[in-house]
């Protein structure tokens, strides 16, 4: 019961109150780059979720199984990046073989998931928050879901911006960034949810 409550808290925190894009400001690159169309945003969100969960599943055991016993925990950044990079390469190959349209749609943004701070961020946060394996996986899954949610929301926002009369000086990146900041403000409203639901 305690575990279930913890997992729920982690889920809601990861998706809403501590959203990776709008609250922690990780993963801004794909956020601004691939959120123009709904299909691109959804595809990217799902790919990042998958990579986050997979990366956690691999890095967590390696950290606690190899790095900690050997007292070389300071290597975690490099080690995690290496693992994430190989993992993303495999994901890219899988997509190219089994879902070519998605592969074409994501294009250059797929390898960008490698350097995406959100993925490295989630693996390091799992370590720092001292989660158990299940909690770490849930955290990664929540982070990915939050990423997906915000990508989809923002693709809608950008679709609306296309139809508006944006002043020439602001058109393109400036108005997108302004919209992103306003969207981020809206997520501040989720502030007291966890305490409210779980009587923290």
């Amino acid at each position: 019961m305690e575990l279930a409550k913890n997992l729920m808290i982690i889920l809601i925190t990861g998706i809403l109150t501590e959203n990776f894009i709008l609250c922690k400001f990780y993963g801004i690159c794909p956020f601004l780059g691939v959120s123009k169309t709904f299909s691109g945003a959804a595809g990217m969100g799902l790919a990042v979720t998958f990579v986050m969960v997979g990366a956690t599943a691999v890095t967590y055991p390696i950290y606690y199984g190899i790095l900690v016993p050997l007292n070389i925990t300071y290597l975690n950044t490099i080690c995690f990046i290496l693992i994430i990079a190989s993992f993303v390469q495999v994901v890219e190959m899988v997509l190219k073989k089994f879902v070519p349209p998605l592969y074409k749609a994501l294009g250059v943004y797929l390898p960008l998931i490698t350097t995406n701070c959100a993925v490295l961020g989630v693996t390091i946060i799992n370590i720092e928050s001292e989660y158990s394996f299940i909690e770490a996986l849930t955290n990664a899954f929540a982070g990915g879901l939050g990423f997906l949610l915000v990508m989809i929301i923002f693709s809608g926002v950008r679709g609306r911006i296309e139809k508006c009369n944006v002043p020439a000086a602001l058109s393109g990146t400036p108005i997108t960034l302004i919209a992103a900041s306003i969207t981020s403000l809206s997520f501040v409203g989720f502030g007291g949810i966890v305490d409210g639901i779980f009587g923290g």
Binding site: I72, L75, L82, I83, Q89, M93
Partner: protein, 264 residues
Amino acid sequence: MEQYVLPILFFLLLGAAAGVLLTVASKLLFVKNDETVEKITEALPGANCGGCGFSGCEGYANAVAKGEAAPNLCKPGGAPVTIALSEIMGVAAQVQEREYAYVKCNGNCEATEDKFVYIGTGSCAAVEKFYNGKGKCTSGCHGLGDCVKVCENNAICIKNGVAVINPELCAACGKCVKACPNKLISLVGESQKFIVRCSSADPGKITRAACKNGCIGCGICAKKCPVGAISVSANHAVIDAGKCTGCGVCAEVCPMKCIANLAK
């Protein structure tokens, strides 16, 4: 010493494991890259006009790569693209003559006039469908610009109430040919020298009353043509471009002066 050896060892092992994993994965998940399609797509102009009959340049590239389409169907690309594609596919290049669209109607404001004032949907298709045209000649150019709207190269404009196509801007994609409700536009080869500027199917008496530039189907051009390239069908003359030698006799003898010299 151990504190240096351990990280190095660890990363050697990790790197080796990642390398092995990726090699295995790349063999298992190997996708055959069709370079031919990519090469062809690069050689095409990328206008996506559909003039080749396929859905955009990618559709044509796939068809050519499979061998289902001839490499000389790209009209906007013309001879250079035909040669490039033939080279990629390893076949002899059969360059088709450059074509451009031509409006076979000269019923401008001086030659003919409207039967009534038309205030309605500003489209040739509309005035043709609902009223059979607003001009005295029912098979002539309505001048409302359906062809102008579909042309992606801005090669068509309405001059004096009749559509005129600039041969230099025309990419021969064929969209205007489909857009004209009276089927007045057709693709002519670059080498065609003379053309009859009228498609009127009405008998001579009616055509004469309707338009000063209309072909009345008298047949003088057909009789005078030294190579027999002209025939009269559906009450107007038609020149067979294959037989035409460009002598110009037809244009001289035409009483309505509706045979145009394309060389000008």
